[in-house]
Symmetry: C2
Subunit: 235 residues, 2 copies
């Protein structure tokens, strides 16, 4: 995760952008989803404990995260649901709907193209690309897969700032280079490889095997616990 | 992330399981992948800087992570690639191949079923399940989609310990309950919802819209930087 060098001598982007810990930024979308659920149930206020449980974090961490936004709730009442939704959406920049380009329309690309969450939370997929001539021209939902050769023109015309890479690993760096050259400044990478990008471009990586390996660690630890010799119990 | 209550009075699982920070556990698979790439290139040793660059982290963090495993490298030489691979695989429990059940065989389920990373890094998909009668019986690769009604019997017969949920959100909790009742102790959840599970069951969540929202924060911050008035430059 790198931040654009702005050349102005400013260390931060000003008071609208408190320098939030990356882990806090990562939890804000969880709070937002929980808050939207509460709002749908016509709940006007929520305690920190209630919101923490709905988001699956502990309440001390939640209070600390929200204090970074200047939100402290009201003693005995809790947080105003609508106000907190607005504050978080403001910080995350979700008032605009960002245009996303999706590259690599295999099974995963199809799954991502059909992912309802993209349309409802500040994003819309503006273009689908593939390098395979057999895929170019294919209809996916309401869209048509385009040739990756068109990426520069389309990114410019559709004002796309985010690229999602769902190609095989060997193609991912080349795709990233093209997206960045075309003007994309954030990349979500599903290919199992590390991308090299210039300063000012943010990359987030989702690697499904890595998620499983992290679970494997916990499984392994649990098996070891279960396998402790009986005589050790109570020591 | 919860750890099984072991009832033995042991606070940790013993010397084989140093109590690793969750963030360190999350980075070990990255190091492992980079090390495998180095081994394929016949590299016997690697500096902390070289490995850090290949894994996309900073080298001080890498050295600290590996020191938790008791690996400090050799001054002027670096880390032994094969030895470090073995140490990390040992800690992650990747010497065994764990059986995984995948539930929900839509686009995402198809993508996951075809994901090569699962087969090569300590995992194999042992069963596919869906609740839709139109999907049950469908061939996916070398496997056949089974009825979710069979989940208890299959989890037991195939010794499945990890469940991957790729269903719509409204079905995910019910599926999780069935997997846990059947004996699954780790869940990777792709459905956009928080799962409630008993102590001793680990859940990791992958939410694709949340990854995009985190990128949105960085995009938003970058736009604000770009929009700074010219007269402020140099202040």
């Amino acid at each position: 995760m790198s931040q654009r060098a702005n050349g102005s001598g400013f260390a931060t982007a000003g008071p609208d952008f408190p320098d939030l810990p990356e882990a806090t930024v990562a939890r804000l979308p969880e709070y937002l989803r929980a808050l939207h659920n509460l709002a749908e149930d016509d709940q006007d206020t929520v305690s920190s404990e209630g919101l923490a449980a709905a988001a699956g974090v502990n309440s001390a961490k939640l209070r600390k995260d929200l204090s970074h936004l200047g939100s402290y709730g009201t003693r005995g009442v809790g947080y105003d649901v609508q106000l907190l939704i607005e504050q978080i959406e403001q910080v995350l920049g979700l008032h605009e709907s960002r245009a996303v380009a999706l590259v690599g329309i295999g099974n995963l690309g199809h799954a991502l193209a059909g992912y309802a969450g993209f349309a409802t939370r500040g994003f819309h997929i503006a273009a689908l690309f593939d390098a395979d001539p057999h895929r170019v021209g294919e209809r996916v939902g309401t869209m048509t897969v385009r040739d990756i050769a068109e990426v520069e023109a389309v990114v410019d015309a559709e004002r796309i700032s985010i690229g999602v890479i769902a190609t095989p690993a060997h193609a991912a760096q080349r795709v990233a280079d093209r997206l960045v050259a075309a003007g994309v400044t954030s990349i979500l990478n599903f290919a199992p490889c590390v991308l090299v990008v210039p300063d000012g471009v943010d990359v987030r990586k989702v690697d499904l095997a890595i998620e499983l390996q992290i679970l494997s660690f916990h499984e392994h630890r649990k098996s070891a616990l279960t396998a402790l010799p009986a005589k050790a119990v109570g020591q």
